[in-house]
């Protein structure tokens, strides 16, 4: 998870105490990923346990500073130099919702798609308006903020495109007579490990048997 590496990367700039780290994280990410101070200290404990940071001085106000170790510095370099790998197992709530909805009787899936598309486009409008209000960044903080917002804009756009694609796919499946509800199976499920994620569904349409 990138909070751990992000905090470590900030500590690579110099020693910080917990609340200061939270402030630094927020101003670099436009507060788009809220984290509380408790989470910061838990993360610092784990980083210390793993030898990536160590406790440094306590200042006159009692703030306990943390300092990055050589191993921690190496971890930051490794993080910045490696890709964020997307999982092939989806935890996307919307994808799962559509997958379930399409197997249920009496669900107007086109309506489900339209409701989502309207909602996502509304979000996209809001993001676009606010981005336009800050389109020429005047500081590194604003630039970092805009990068995050751009990412959200492209993610929302991708979701709308995926919804359009799903709608077309659904229409074709209906026309071909392959888009029907899946009734509850009367077979007793076998115990054991489920089939491997992303394996092709069988001819009967049951992916996990």
């Amino acid at each position: 998870m990138s909070v751990r590496q992000s905090l470590l990367a900030i500590l690579d700039q110099g020693p910080c105490y917990g609340y200061q780290l939270r402030t630094e994280f927020d101003r670099r990410t436009g507060s788009t990923w809220p984290i509380n101070v408790g989470q910061i200290y838990n993360t610092l404990d784990r980083l210390e346990r793993d030898g990536l940071v160590r406790k440094a001085e306590i200042d006159a106000e009692g703030q306990n500073y943390y300092q990055i170790t050589d191993a921690g510095h190496g971890e930051v370099e490794s993080w910045l130099g490696s890709p964020v790998v997307r999982s092939t197992a989806t935890r996307d709530e919307l994808a799962i919702k559509l997958a379930i909805a399409v197997t249920l009787p009496g669900v107007d899936i086109a309506h489900v798609i339209q409701v989502q598309r309207t909602s996502t486009l509304t979000t996209l409008q809001e993001l676009t308006r606010t981005k336009n209000a800050t389109d020429n960044p005047e500081s590194s903080e604003e630039l970092a903020w805009l990068l995050v917002v751009d990412s959200m804009i492209f993610a929302a756009e991708a979701e709308v495109r995926w919804l359009d694609h799903s709608e077309t796919r659904l229409a074709r499946a209906v026309a071909a007579g392959v888009a029907g509800p899946i009734p509850l199976s009367t077979e007793v499920p076998k115990r054991g490990r489920p089939a491997k994620a992303l394996s092709a569904p069988s001819a009967t349409g049951a992916a996990h048997e």
């Binding site: 507060s31 339209q114 598309r117 409008q125 917002v149 492209f154």
Partner: protein, 240 residues
Amino acid sequence: MSDELLRLDGVSMQYGRGETAVTALSGIDLTVSRGELVAVMGASGSGKSTLLTVAGGLTPPTSGEVIVEGHWLSQLSARQLATLRRRSLGFVFQDFNLIPSLTAIENVALPLELDGWKTRKAHRPALDALDVVELADRADRYPSDLSGGQQQRVAIARAVVGGRSLILADEPTGALDSTTGEIVLKMLRGRVDAGAGGILVTHDARHAAWADRIVFLRDGRIVDQAQAASVTSLFDAVQR
């Protein structure tokens, strides 16, 4: 002056007759007010472009009424309709539609000259319109000397020159790269914010998001609309 620039009242459009008839639009009710940009989205064949040609008085609807700045188009003669199109409506197309043998300023001034303005008089508002799209310094260039984004900005200047207030844009960013497309949309948005109104037909969600309202067409009908609440800060938007 009313704020309402365009009203489509129960507009339907059918091509052909009998068993082979195709319904392109069915019972469309839509208004566009001053300062408002309405995006129209929908799959291919959903009626987006037909809606634009009907709204622009290029094709009369089979039934229903189109009202532009208070004028009922069905009650206008062909000559009156042509005059209204020249004075009130500006079109922006995907492929720019500039006349290659005319310079940028001549292209922008053309609708005014067609309306009887003398060339010298027409060039003044044309230069103002080019200035708004930040191309006044390229007024004497021919379209072939301009980039795609610059040509589309000339087309936007032409669409709004002389106080024309209703912009009808059909995939105006379709032939442009993403960044140039955004610049063109920003210009379009700027003209609308300055008091024009517009319809933006697009299949691109990121571009539709520049509009105040997004209307979805399916099989010639409006099936849904998206309208963002006003957002005061980026923080509000990202925290939702």
